[in-house]
Amino acid sequence: MRIAVASGKGGTGKTTIATGLALALEDRPVLFLDCDVEAPNAHLILRPELIWRQQVDRPVPVVNQTRCTGCGHCAEICRYHAIAVMSGKVLVFPELCHGCGSCVANCPEAALSEYGRPLGVLEAGSTKTGITFARGVLEIGELSASPIIRQLKKWAVRTELFPHALSPEAVEIRDAPPGTSCPVVETLRGADFALLVSEPTPFGLHDLRLIVELVHEMNLPAGVIINRDMANDGALERFCVEANLPVLMRIPLERDIGQALAAGQPLTAVRPAYGMALRNLFEHIQLLEARGIRT
């Protein structure tokens, strides 16, 4: 079972829920993936010992000047304008390159080869309670989060890293980045269920609508957690009813919860009752996934 915790809006409590759920499912083998590679924070709460490390490279072309005739075919082929030919000389703009390899494969002189340009790193280890933890970290100044997430998903499920990878009891929890663009799509791809965390504010609702549009398009079953719940106009819940989204859990807006979470405590430590609530939530998710809309 692979659960992706997403939200659209940032700061609604994705990491709080994802880490809380991982800790609550202590009797199952849990793999936690921090897919928010731009701003990864789950390690601050789960405090794993990170012992595995793997660099993520993007293959970028390099020109063999003695072979290159300056024909310009590579620049015509590249859809990202990452190659330009000026007065017979090939210029590569590595930050625009997506690493697709088309220029290399199609150079008539075989004058292009590739080198690995570092985009970030993958790190993994375990927590004291036995959660296997893995995260990606985007290098400062680099643009592309998605390739790191794509690699993270493949790297972490190998049995040497997560011995229970093949167990039917295993649960993979993915902590998604905010927003609804490509890094979120990469996090949701291959997940079995989208757990959406929102808050009863106009910003929360606006961005929930967008992420719901995305999970529907991706054919993923989903449910909602209403975080920082308080007296409100009911618009968020009306939307959930209209969109046929079950509200799976509510966490009230309480100052002491906020304070403890800010200090890096997990939800299950702040209010132990949420441990049981999250285990019930997981059972609910299993039921919803079993009669899910996926084909």
Partner: protein
Amino acid sequence: MKQVVVLSGKGGTGKTSLVAAFAHLAAANHVPDAPSASQIRLVLVDADVDASNLELVLQPRQLEAHDFVAGELAVVDPELCSGCGVCETVCRFDAISIPSAPGPAYARVDEFACEGCAACLYACPQQAIHMQPQLVGQWFRSVTPYGPLFHAALRPGAENSGKLVTLVKQMARFLALDNSYPLVLVDGPPGIGCPAISAAAGADMVLIVTEPSVAGLHDFERAWGVAHHFGIPVAAVINKADICPQGTQQIERFCHEKKIPLLGIIPFDVAVTHAMSSGRPVTAVGGPAARAMCTVWDAFLQRLGNLE
């Protein structure tokens, strides 16, 4: 003309609430108990194109809407495809495959994974693939009670958020230059990757809104790292500062260490949420956070005057 971009690293620290308050304070001296308020003409940009919320508090009236077409998607012609699978071997994004379903085999494209590189098109021996430009969103020119606003809506799941950010910023810049606006204020996206870097590109200052949580501080350091990497001056604001006083002290220490001017601290205040719910900047409602934002606004203007 100066361009200031508001970033945070972590989402939900209060970027949009602060930008809305700044817009309100810039337009007029609306707040009676503010220590002092200064007017400045500004152009606003919402650069959080995949979760754009500034419009929810600024009540814009849309003047123009434009389609945003960017990037391409591979499309397979099932009639021409022989199912040979060469495309699958050249695709580095796991975006095209020959399903092993019964019946005639032809390549299927996973449109969520396709990056539009056309490697499959170049490799296909049957010429069964063509590329189709994608309508990935819209961008808008609007007016608000506080000044012009450029904003956008990226289709959920779409790529090219960075390009759309660059586009709305460019449009705002042209308007500001043509009409002698002294300030372009950009509400940035969370994170530190493609859209955040596109938002920060060309900025005269990055204003980082952080919060005193372990995550807030961690991501503040990363957002600062990006601005520093590109050589852009940084100023900071601590929001919800009283939620965790030790965290606030840690951020203050970090600012001191890195010589980041701290423009002010804002307390946690439910009035911010209430203002948002009524579609108004918090400074139009009042309260402790609104008063703190007035002070921050003054410090910001002073900082802006010292930039050169």
